[in-house]
């Protein structure tokens, strides 16, 4: 994080959606809203990343999240066979829309892996926070319709 970021006070709010199969058991105990001095994260467990729909991701952003990170299993290791690939395609499709409306495709991303601890999940949330920092706060934050 640069000195400018610290001075601006922008602390990205990241929603992290993770597949329950790619974390260690005790990671569940860790799941909660977490805040550090650099970003805030809310971690949400899913049965499989195939359950992620574009509408879910876009709604989270429309409600003011600065970024959404989806965490799924590695290629060819999805217990539901193709769930993580479907998630990847939907995320890429939704990123196209974000690019089209000028909100920034980087607000949305996916990471893969297995046996993540709670702390490692937080690091993945921080990775998304780092990606969205150049975009600035989500303009939808505190949306008011006159």
């Amino acid at each position: 994080m640069t000195r400018e970021d610290l001075q601006s006070g922008f602390k990205p709010e990241i929603i992290l959606l993770y597949c329950r199969r790619c974390v260690e058991e005790e990671a569940d105990l860790f799941i909660a809203a977490k805040a550090t001095s650099r970003f805030a994260a809310k971690l949400v467990m899913m049965p499989c990343t195939s359950k992620v729909e574009e509408s879910h991701l876009l709604k989270l952003l429309a409600e003011g999240a600065d970024g959404v990170q989806v965490v799924g299993c590695p290629y060819q290791q999805c217990q539901r066979l193709l769930g993580n690939l479907q998630a990847e395609r939907r995320i890429e499709h939704a990123r196209g829309y974000l690019r089209e409306i000028g909100l920034g495709a980087e607000r949305l991303g996916m990471e893969r892996g297995l046996h993540f601890s709670g702390l490692q999940l937080l690091l993945l949330a921080e990775k998304r926070a780092h990606a969205v920092r150049p975009l600035g706060p989500n303009p939808m934050k505190g949306e008011r319709i006159p």
């Binding site: 574009e54 509408s55 876009l58 952003l61 429309a62 829309y97 409306i101 303009p139 939808m140 319709i145």
Partner: protein, 223 residues
């Protein structure tokens, strides 16, 4: 099914700018099957529109509803309580559904959110191909169940043009089969190639797009 595609988001926001509360209406039938206008697409487009309009400096509330069929008056009636609360409607049903809503609720502007494209079949996941043009004079019985009106780039009625590629594809699009090549293959497989030599009277195109608005009237079904 009737297939459709979303209009570009910039075209939608250009129409919706200035409206404060928008009703986004989908249809759970054909356009849901082609992933353009069902409940899932309604719930995807709504947050996108909110974000796009906000980004352009025209924030608006977007409420959603998906009707079972937007081309049936009984279902269109379900919108009645919502209409007085909104100042515009965006419909992502086919052109029939959009017109039904616009006719029933003529007091509010109703905008199309999709371009209605064709009558098509889902060939494989994510790919829809036109199969019918509603030409009003079906000749599938003579062409072994394959429609040259909808599926031939030139709508040729009496055999292929000279542009069929060696692999049986269409000269206009290398990804499309030459439909007359398909017809001949099917006739051959049935041992009925000679059927294609039979005289066919000229097609009645007056029932197609050229003959004015179409109607079907069944006195036995009328009230």
């Amino acid at each position: 099914m009737i297939i459709a595609e979303w209009k570009p988001l910039s075209e939608l926001t250009a129409k919706l700018r200035g409206h404060k509360k928008i009703l986004l209406v989908g249809c759970a039938t054909c356009v849901a099957e082609c992933a353009a206008g069902g409940e899932k697409e309604v719930e995807t487009l709504a947050p996108l529109l909110r974000m796009a309009l906000h980004k352009e400096g025209h924030p608006a509330e977007v409420v959603t509803r998906t009707l079972e069929r937007q081309c049936e008056w009984e279902f269109v009636e379900e919108l009645a309580p919502l209409i007085p609360q909104v100042d515009a409607v965006l419909s992502i049903a086919c052109g029939i559904g959009i017109q039904a809503v616009a006719e029933r609720y003529s007091e509010v502007p109703v905008y199309p959110g999709v371009n209605t494209t064709a009558l098509a079949i889902r060939e494989e996941p994510g790919l829809w191909l036109a199969r019918c043009q509603a030409c009003g004079d079906c000749g599938l019985g003579e062409t072994f169940g394959i429609c040259p009106v909808a599926r031939c780039a030139k709508s040729l009625q009496n055999g292929p043009c000279g542009g069929t590629r060696k692999d049986g594809k269409c000269e206009v699009d290398e990804n499309l089969e030459c439909v007359w090549y398909q017809i001949v293959k099917r006739a051959e497989a049935r041992g009925q190639l000679d059927k294609l030599l039979e005289f066919r009277p000229a097609k009645n195109w007056s029932n197609s797009l050229h003959g004015g608005p179409k109607r079907v009237l069944r006195e036995d079904l009328r009230p």
